[in-house]
Symmetry: D2
Subunit: 179 residues, 4 copies
């Protein structure tokens, strides 16, 4: 039996870093896709797991990170995709969602063998996380209208790498099979 989880990467974000200018329009385009995935996952009983940078705030917890971001200038990019009451939350310190995080353990515990990755950044965390999922023998699906990039050409190459070299399924948020 196979089970899928929806992974939302780095969407709790203050967008105050140097690449934000290039990133924000792409995030705006990806929001409806992420929203569609969250709605579908919650309706179909598929777990959604937020894996998010802690921005070096080791004293913080996710409510504080969320509060902080929601009171900032880019709240409109976070509000539509905020965690729900059943969402799970894993803090990461570095690029990949798996590096020194309990995500692998959590997925095993939940019986998950397939992950749908959405969020940001396509040619960075999403690519690295797809690789680390593939190395751990998880199947990977990336809806290309629910991931955001900084460089369109690198993002396009990253999607092809995921498809060709990591066996990932590339589709749209509407097409994703969740169950």
């Amino acid at each position: 039996m196979s089970r899928t989880a929806l992974i939302v990467i780095d969407m709790i974000n203050s967008y105050d870093h140097p690449d934000a200018e290039a990133l924000v329009p792409s995030v705006r385009s990806a929001l409806p896709g992420v929203r569609t995935l969250l709605d579908r996952a919650r309706e179909e009983g598929v777990p959604d797991i937020y894996v998010n940078d802690n921005f070096g705030r080791w004293r913080s917890h996710h409510d504080e990170i969320l509060r902080n971001v929601l009171s900032g200038p880019h709240a409109d990019l976070v509000e539509p995709v905020r965690p729900g009451p059943e969402s799970m939350f894993v803090v990461k310190a570095r690029h990949s969602i798996f590096y020194q995080t309990p995500l692998e353990y959590l997925l095993q515990q939940e019986g998950v063998d397939r992950v749908v990755l959405c969020g940001q950044v396509t040619e960075q965390c999403v690519l690295y996380s797809a690789l680390d999922a593939h190395i751990r023998r998880l199947r990977v699906c990336v809806p290309e209208d629910a991931v955001a990039h900084i460089h369109p050409d690198l993002a396009e190459a990253a999607l092809r790498m995921m498809e060709r070299n990591m066996g990932a399924e590339i589709c749209t948020a509407g097409q994703v099979r969740l169950r």
Copy 2:
């Protein structure tokens, strides 16, 4: 240059598990030792890092875990050693403080090469964490009056294993060198 961190293991605890009856008196004895270490660390500018089980509450954050525990029947075992405003907090899912947690990364970032371990359980998480610290080439110190056990004879064997086989320094909370 060497830098030490104080690691407080699993002290945010509701003590509602089967071994609690044997564990609680030992925790009570260890509280003054842990308190001494926390006072000294905060006075001397040594970082204190709580590494704590999340009890499978992946939707929780540490404030919620803490609140939950402080409103329970064993609040008196938690209140004296609760995290301070500068304490850092790392969630773990399994026995060792290093297994699928960002602790190793955090210690590197803080320039820490020596850890003082206190908390519980001497012959379980403390032993496993001492091993995982030693394997990662961190120096380990365990103040024996600031760790709590379930089985006194296994705890005594665990302390000897740490001293003999993992090169750990076994001392008291008053003796520990922090800087």
Copy 3:
């Protein structure tokens, strides 16, 4: 479906380290137990996997390590338990059989969910490996007449820790269920 592998820890050994004097008599006592397990595993089609320290010889391979040891003064402790033509071999650099080795990957590939641990040292590598297996949700069995120790009292405590705290099955080499 469950599948077992026999893991032979650090038996390819030159016994020229400081603890050898205390260890060698215990290894001699454990040899028939290890031999029984190897015979039974090979007869019953259960994979045997040697996980062995490389003694810092990063330029060596296992034939060279084996040759080196078999031409040394303690060849009689190695000869009876040398790898067979079907044995698999994993090199480790540190204490646990899992730390920075491909063993977890190999076990998954072979569909193994239960390990029988034999070899040395009961209160060191065997204990650490049992813990790391347990953390990874593998079931663990340790035949107490097929493991060797340096300190009898620490070994006895280690076996109790494995049984009580890691859910390990402690039995004899003759009793072990392999299939």
Copy 4:
């Protein structure tokens, strides 16, 4: 003080896999670059470490893998870059040179904080290894004339990702600073 190691990735290869046809001409172009790096490293006393797939041959050791490959139809692609008497050798089972291998431990032991990556495949193992090195805070250098690809456009994107997103230095085998 900083120390560099030269890492030679997957060059001990039988080239009998489906992508070989696209890969072989690129390997042929990269051979002089890899050869230059090996010569320079051995002359300047910089350690060279081969990290190579074991092709599922868990019973093999590197001499056997090497012998096997040198007696195959593509020996001319291996002979010029074979390990020297001082080369170190680490077996990997999966894509990245760090995933479930002792490489991180070995690099720490040797005091290495910077790696020069050469070999194959630019848009696969080399990219993944650069990422895993960067995540571990190692500095990374990739001489673009000493790495081989399957898809030129993905390779070009991979080099830009390494340079832009992983802080890697991209240069030529002649330009690389080794000490």
